[in-house]
Assembly symmetry: C2
Homo-oligomer: 282 residues x 2
């Protein structure tokens, strides 16, 4: 499919992109770059990449597809830094959890270049981090947003969609703004709630920690994620996350009122709506 | 340990109690009762019980330990209904998720009898229900509250504690009131949040359901539980759950304010507190 593929800042996601591409024979050559010297040293012994570079620009040089897997606040600076090295027709994509700002600013950073940015966001991951946990099947059956702008070249969109499909992801094309609204509700809001719940419980009797059942464990798993990564995600999707939190506050206040008023009908109907939604998740 | 053990209304928990007791040789004879005729028929072929009765009183007759595994709103009526059949010295315990009302009312229901009620609540379970999913190791390493009243006979407390320990649970003794405060925070609040989140999302674009990642799936798993069971739990623990919801509302409002005001320090510190609490769960 590609003569040369570049993965910048491979962690769990980037390592999985590279491994998945390798195992499916999608790229003859896979080049990588990582900011940390220790990681670069480790990558030199990884079987799923062929060349490790000291700079992002060198790693991107000559590639047909560059996948940026850095934290969301580092994606646009990386796009700007590799611009001089990009070949004509190169597509730059990413795996960032927020899309509006990244897509518009990356588009601007490549204005006038012969390369093109097409944002992506695979809904895959785990509480594990680091390329050492990379998994060639991480994206299989998982949703992956591809978020072109209105004036993104159709050929570049097609190539990005085809790439994620080839990794066995279920590709969904949405505008960056619509993506941000959706994930604010289905990913960022749940995270905000889990973090808030854990933050609340951290100020209660420490012995309660030993009494948790699987319910608390499951419902707060995402709160164990890196705080700085998520700080950037929340900041980049501030408006949509605030809207989702407000909607949630209204809902939980309905729950509280129904319970306080012993309104069995209202409380039962809320629980039943929730149960039915949860059962409908693929 | 026991000549005769009775399990009333065995579902996932009751079936697991019986299987665990059988596999550990804790009771020579295990008697059961179930409200539904179909369940009684199925239980007659289950290897982990010896006798299936048409009424709860018959099943409880002559037993040294009766474990009531019915939904929380049916426990006190069952205690009252088996009272005439209880042997002197018999201990009646349960697995209900709420304790104050159940313990006081069951104590009253047995006033003057030579049998004694000692509440219990193993923090074990799963989204699976039904005795066919029973597991002899369900309680291994799991917390189990035992919640005596101030005037519960020490010998009955000891016997209840010893029983749950013999199933390999980690027994924690608390007053029923303290139990209800703790589980309002670590179990009922997470459930209220998951149900509210799912209820909110059920009113958004149905196509979003196909886009959920594991984060949403994990954090809402408990919302898939039976609505009526949980309605009773919330009602029986109304005051404590309302208090926990209010505390959570304050916390999420801090999250929202920090994000709205771009107060990175406050937001980062909330996320970090949450992360650190989540990592501290056993």
């Amino acid at each position: 499919m590609f003569e040369s593929l570049t993965v910048l800042a491979p962690g769990l996601l980037g390592g999985s992109v590279a491994k998945a591409a390798r195992s499916r024979g999608l790229a003859r050559r896979i080049a990588v770059w990582s900011r940390r010297m220790e990681t670069r040293a480790a990558l030199r012994t990884a079987g799923w990449c062929d060349a490790v570079f000291e700079t992002a620009a060198e790693a991107a040089h000559g590639s047909e597809l560059v996948v940026i897997c850095a934290p969301v606040d580092q994606i646009v600076p990386l796009v700007a830094s590799i611009r001089p090295a990009l070949s004509p027709g190169c597509v730059v994509t990413d795996v960032g959890s927020v899309k509006s700002a990244i897509c518009r600013q990356s588009h601007a950073a490549l204005a006038g270049a012969e390369a093109c940015f097409v944002g992506a966001h695979p809904m895959a991951g785990s509480e594990r981090t680091g390329h050492e946990h990379a998994d060639a099947e991480l994206f299989r059956g998982r949703p992956c947003f591809v978020t072109p702008l209105a004036d993104t070249a159709p050929a570049s969109i097609d190539r990005t969609v085809a790439f994620w499909r080839a990794l066995d992801a279920r590709v969904v094309t949405e505008s960056p703004e619509r993506h941000d609204e959706i994930v604010a509700h289905i990913s960022h809001l749940p995270h905000a709630l889990a973090s808030s719940l854990c933050s609340l419980l951290s100020r209660r009797d420490p012995r309660w920690r030993d009494l948790a059942g699987n319910g608390l464990r499951d419902s707060t798993r995402i709160a164990a994620s890196d705080a700085d990564l998520w700080l950037s995600i929340f900041e980049q999707n501030r408006e949509e996350v605030l809207r989702a939190i407000s909607a949630f506050e209204d809902e939980v206040s309905c729950f509280r009122a129904a319970l306080a008023n012993s309104d069995r009908l209202a409380l039962r109907s809320l629980l039943e709506r929730g149960r039915s939604f949860r059962h409908s998740l693929r």
